[in-house]
Symmetry: C2
Subunit: 113 residues, 2 copies
Amino acid sequence: MASEELLRTHLQELRRGTVVVASLVALRQPDYGYALLQRLTAHGFPVDANTLYPLLRRLAEQGLLTSEWNTQESRPRKFYRTSADGEQVLRRLLDDLAAVQTSVTGLIEGVNR
Amino acid sequence: MASEELLRTHLQELRRGTVVVASLVALRQPDYGYALLQRLTAHGFPVDANTLYPLLRRLAEQGLLTSEWNTQESRPRKFYRTSADGEQVLRRLLDDLAAVQTSVTGLIEGVNR
């Protein structure tokens, strides 16, 4: 039986790229880190704060997210939003993810034929 | 406009996990490295030899692929095949990939609603 650790490694590797896609999609609607984390989890995409928060900072540094402090509430929070560049990258990633699905389906059918 | 380099980085990150899925699916039917590379490419999953060959060795070391030399042809070739453990890991990865698609679709619809 394959070890749980090995399985976890491969699952993490698969998730690492897709969490970028999920975040860029979700942040078409601006949100702060913790609310995004809850939203992703609610949509069946559980992600660790230690993964998500550094990722948000990295995407903002890359110009794929804009960030803005919301100081209207008692506790100021940094809101992130997918930028025009982010949308452009996102569309390519969504196309690629769909292409991966098509390829995998084709391989499964090709193998079973 | 988002730089091509940035886009490439994110596309590579997305592909890194999925190439494992594609390889394990394809190698339900045994094949040697170069033939697998051609088969993946033909199914719309272009992959570099410098990525694929080390990956095959790694998956074999992890017990997810079995390998066997075929010496019947003039040039001996190492054939890889998805093992029982590999099949077990593959099924979880396929489930996860499907879950990612569902989550992303849900997020897209949730955002647009």
